[in-house]
């Protein structure tokens, strides 16, 4: 992943946090808000190196917590460990397949709130958890799963647009013998 692409992804993380705070359409309709940072982490973990994963976890987590009643920095660890796990296992994930992207997105968006809430309980915070949280959890998982393939398409296109890919140099071995035009006199019958 190029540096420009990484900067773009961090800017998108900023916009995702802003959008989750400012736009309430889904929350008003379904009483739950989708978390887009884990979705972004799926893409970064399967496309970039550990530095990009760490940067997204730290910057995205801090931005998210700054607009939330969460203690500042609590979202960093769940985001980072999700990214790290995906990166270690990236050989086993069919990155190009839409259904794989959907499933990974669902799993990550399910794990993220559980890990954050567990950390909050450990730190003695008191989040609101009730039966309704199950519904919110379901919406977050499903919504995250649906958004993940869209993010992959968007960022893969961006990667193609921003990255220079040199044409392979010509060499002898690339010539196909069966397509060679034979010159000279044709054999007379």
């Amino acid at each position: 992943m190029s540096r420009i692409n990484l900067i773009v992804i961090l800017m998108v993380a900023f916009l995702c946090v802003y959008a989750q705070t400012a736009f309430q359409g889904l929350r008003n309709a379904l009483n739950a808000q989708i978390d887009l940072l884990p979705v972004l982490m799926v893409y970064v973990a399967l496309s970039a190196d550990i530095i990009a994963v760490a940067l997204l976890a730290v910057i995205g987590g801090v931005l998210f917590d700054s607009l939330s009643a969460n203690p500042l920095g609590i979202s960093i660890l769940p985001l980072f460990f999700i990214g790290l796990f995906l990166q270690i296992r990236h050989d086993l994930i069919l990155r190009e397949m839409t259904y794989a992207q959907f499933v990974v997105g669902c799993c990550v968006c399910t794990a993220m709130p559980v890990m954050t809430l567990a950390l909050m309980w450990i730190l003695g915070e008191r989040p609101i958890i009730g039966l309704g949280s199950l519904w919110q959890w379901f919406v977050m998982a499903l919504g995250g799963g649906l958004v993940t393939p869209l993010f992959f398409r968007l960022f893969d296109r961006l990667e193609n647009a921003l990255t220079y890919s040199a044409r392979p140099a010509y060499n002898e071995s690339m010539a196909r013998q069966d397509r060679e035009i034979k010159r000279g006199r044709s054999r007379s019958y």
Binding site: A22, Q24, N31, L77, L123, G132, S133
Partner: protein
């Protein structure tokens, strides 16, 4: 399984998270304020866009509708003027009676209008962001309400925006009393996060109290944050708690905390 750069990244990220989480509350709030100022431009831009859209909508409203609206508003003004006259005489009478009984005079609420610009991105808090901050005289723990009733209190203040913890959040507890019986209790956290966000619990009411569904609940004025008399909601039902010593009542909030747009901040 892990490679060297991964070990380094794990160490750095965990150390950073631990440092942030173990910062003193004041430093953390300060840092939070700095980081959240990055979003100010976005919130201001969306506010400007909304007001532009409102103006555009107003500009294309047919004259007939506008005339009707003006007539309705004028009628309402007349009605409110009349009501105001009545209230003036009641206030005068109230002051005289308070003087006779040597009670402390009630100070009228000094309110400031604010707009909700965002909501907590996490689903497990009840918090909104408003477009007023230190620059506008906001300080922590100022009560926030709508025309219908209490909404919450200011929990953190930034330069141009503040966080408002909504009633029903575990960190926003309110001393309340049932108007008809005078029984006091505490508004506790909401038990469910989605089924009906307007439902909250009134806790620690004496077991022998005679509260009925429909009774109004107002702020008790006990404590230093909320003045007495702000309407909160109405009793839906009450049941004895497991200990048998107190009652727990379900209260339906007057203010719709899920759809907040314009609110009032009670200035101190």
């Amino acid at each position: 399984m892990y490679k060297k750069p991964q070990y380094i990244a794990i160490g750095l990220v965990v150390a950073l998270a631990v440092i942030l989480l173990s910062l003193p509350a004041q430093s953390r709030a300060q840092l939070n304020r700095w980081i959240s100022t990055l979003f100010v431009v976005g919130f201001e831009a969306s506010e400007t866009t909304e007001s532009l859209a409102d103006r555009t909508r107003a500009a294309v409203t047919p004259r007939k509708v506008l005339t009707k609206q003006i007539e309705d508003l004028q009628e309402e003004i007349q009605r409110l003027r009349l009501q105001n006259k009545q209230l003036e005489s009641v206030t005068r009478e109230n002051t005289q009676l308070r003087d006779l009984l040597a009670w402390k005079k009630q100070t009228p609420w000094n309110v400031k209008s604010a707009q909700v610009v965002g909501r907590d991105p996490a689903n497990w808090h009840r918090m909104v962001l408003i477009n007023l901050g230190v620059q506008h005289g906001m300080i922590e723990n100022m009560p926030v309400m709508t025309n219908n009733g209490l909404v919450g209190r200011i929990s953190a203040v930034g330069e141009t925006q503040s966080q408002v913890l909504l009633i029903g959040d575990p960190n926003c507890q309110v001393g309340a009393l049932v108007e008809s019986t005078g029984e006091s209790g505490i508004i506790g956290p909401a038990t469910s996060t989605t089924s009906d966000p307007k439902l909250i619990n009134l806790l620690h009411i004496a077991a022998d109290s005679k509260i009925e569904p429909g009774d109004r609940v107002i702020t008790s004025g006990l404590g230093t944050i909320f003045p007495k008399g702000i309407p909160i909601g109405s009793i839906v039902h009450a049941r004895t708690e497991a200990s048998g010593l107190t009652l727990k009542a379900r209260v339906r909030l007057f203010a719709n905390v899920n759809r907040l747009e314009n609110i009032w901040v009670l200035m101190k």
